[in-house]
Symmetry: C2
Subunit: 422 residues, 2 copies
């Protein structure tokens, strides 16, 4: 039973409605849920003339408030982005329904049959920044996994989100499902987020998605169980045997393809014996893309125009065209550095040495560990999840890109014929 | 990297030692871990002459402090209980090693091979009451699943726990594993628990096990991710078609076999059409065992010596020979009652009606749902887990009895040949 007493009546009404809707969704067939998702995908395209003007209003406010260009970019919807969003919803519809899947099971010596089956969480809360696509992605993933959602989006996207939530609710009702399965607390402003964090008993899990500040606040203040998503001080390590072309291509892709996201490369480590061979071509390719290299002394000796790196560079998530570069003695030295500075998001080794590849994969304790691949692949869409709720950097419940399975819990079903315990 | 600044140096030393040991354990073979478990099982029997006098000292203090008899019972070790404890450790050794198990995997269209593999958490914290068996159970489960543990046991068991922790550490070292994998913060008293809750970055997951008060405190104050274990306001529902013998046996077993534990029955619900048939024989059997029935008006009309139940009875976890009994109109009424008052631990329906059994299993949202079985089976040992860390009543990460798998996280391993994102 809900324990909290700090919630206002009007918010409790929404949470109660979400709970009631979640009970319907939990026992809704995959066919019905997919029909709702197809309706949502369609509604996003059909209602461009409602969505885009609302988004334009948010963008105008953002410009007036001198919001940074990168944030304006995340806030912006256009016909092409609406189409991508609609496609993501269709892809989610095409995935297998996770609900009801049997994960484990056995018949005990006493004849009791026990099975662990996948069930929805119930009510999922999400607190995120001004990215309207997150509203649709999270609602669609939650719906497919049988959950109701309570959303608190960034206030800079409030006009866009209001329209999107209306469309989501209408789409649910069109196929005979409760519109209350998608709730927003945006109208409560900051207090909506604060109350959501205290809604233990009403909200089963709370997912913050956004800046380190936002996430830390939620982790600190929430009594609702939280899945931390997150910050990525992401490393690539060029081993002694790394192929030059692979190294150049992967470092360039990991740093440059989209520098503002959490799976972008932030620190490059290079084996001392390979530094002279690899750093010049890597740096040349990065320089063409406008990357500023912050190097340690050994790096500066090779890349003479590198900015001298300081201690803070090693723990900085630049999210820009900056890259910290350090020469390390060997694999152990590289893994020591990663252990010390990584946020445990994604790390990749570039090598042709099998034993070192296996050691790196086994010993580096991050959500995603890679060999000979760009860190940019740590992504729910790339992993085949359709979309993602976020990328978990904690170890509890979910780790790495979070798709449908990560929005579920389990329960044990026990079938007996009168067994009692002796 | 660890974020907290409130930890004292001597505690940080222990946490650092646990972390270092966890890195060794994470890549230790199953054979080596099982050797350590066999050594622990043996040491418990071999050192009875050290353990039991320490336990006798704790018991003497407990008697002096007028600790309730039920708590004294949980605190007590004797030769037979030591043997059970040793057997549990051997059973844990016999289980399959969860570490390295591949949970999901695929080769993406671009040729990237991705697999999700089971890995240890790293450092597991446990805060629990004065039950020395929990010290051994949790340490053994943690070891088998490749984790270090930091323990804070109830101060009433401090002498027993000190000896047990020494034996655990010595057993690890005997087989060449770091003794630091088992740490206790008991010597810091209450402050040890407080600091453990703030050790975010040092401790990967914190498991409180004990009273509702203890658990609520940890949930409220911990910044380390918590798995809530818990309180059980457990229900049995006797449906219209319930067999009389089954009903009598299961209700008796669920209430009487061990009333002080969380999976014991607390509220019995009876279908109105079956109340006259079932309540008299059920009550007669319970009466023989000394159970006090707290009934609603309809129950009082049938069981005339029932204590009148009040609103608080429905949400009380008696943990004694008391039982709340309510007559309900039908399955929906029973499920409404459960939804309102249950702590979502375990609920069982007694019925011969297939459709009602399936509705109950599908719609009741508890960690364990049963048909025609005693609620006392919700237990890691009974489920074949060897022992249990506790029974999770939350939906995040683990739900129901927690064994080895519940002490693990996962990571994604990505193997490429130079893939970059387009």
């Amino acid at each position: 039973m809900p324990e909290s007493a700090v919630l206002t009546g009007s918010l409790v009404e929404k949470l109660d409605a979400a709970r009631a809707a979640s009970r319907v969704l939990a026992n809704t067939t995959a066919d019905r849920k997919n029909a709702a998702l197809h309706e949502i995908a369609d509604a996003l395209l059909r209602n461009a003339a409602r969505i885009l003007p609302a988004n334009e209003l948010d963008l105008a406010n953002a410009r007036e408030n001198n919001v940074p260009a990168s944030l304006q970019d995340r806030l912006r919807l256009d016909p092409q982005r609406l189409e991508s969003l609609s496609d993501a919803v269709l892809q989610i519809a095409s995935l297998r329904d996770p609900i009801g899947e049997t994960l484990r099971g056995s018949t005990l010596p006493n004849g009791l049959n026990i099975t662990q089956v996948r069930v929805p969480f119930g009510v999922v809360g999400a607190i995120y920044e001004a990215r309207p696509n997150v509203t649709v992605d999270i609602a669609a993933l939650a719906l497919k996994s049988g959950n109701a959602v309570v959303l608190r989006g960034g206030s800079a996207a409030e006009n866009t989100n209001r329209v999107l939530v209306q469309l989501l609710q209408a789409a649910l009702e069109t196929v005979g499902l409760p519109g209350g399965a998608v709730q927003t607390v945006d109208e409560f402003g900051r207090d909506g987020a604060r109350q959501l964090m205290q809604a233990r008993g009403y909200v089963d899990v709370l997912i913050p998605r956004g800046s380190a500040d936002l996430i830390n606040t939620v982790v600190r203040e929430s009594t609702v169980p939280v899945i931390e998503t997150g910050a990525g001080v992401v490393h690539v390590y060029l081993d002694e045997s790394a192929d030059e072309t692979l190294s150049v291509d992967i470092v360039h892709n990991a740093k440059v393809q989209r520098p503002s996201v959490c799976n972008a490369l932030e620190t490059l480590l290079v084996h001392r014996a390979a530094a002279d061979r690899l750093l010049p071509p890597v740096a040349a390719r990065l320089r063409e893309a406008g990357v500023r290299i912050h190097g340690d002394e050994a790096t500066q000796a090779i890349i003479t125009d590198a900015i001298p790196a300081t201690e803070t560079d090693w723990s900085t998530e630049y999210m820009s065209l900056d890259l910290a570069v350090k020469v390390v003695d060997d694999l152990d030295d590289a893994m020591d550095h990663i252990r010390r500075y990584s946020t445990h998001h994604t790390e990749s080794i570039i090598t042709n040495d099998l034993a070192r590849a296996e050691r790196f994969l086994a010993e580096v304790d991050s959500a995603v560990v890679m060999v000979n691949a760009s860190t940019r692949f740590t992504d729910g869409g790339e992993f085949g999840f359709g979309a993602e709720v976020g990328i978990s950097t904690q170890k509890l419940h979910a780790r790495g890109p979070m798709g449908l399975a990560e929005l579920t819990s389990t329960k044990w079903v026990v079938r007996g014929t009168g067994q009692v315990r002796g």
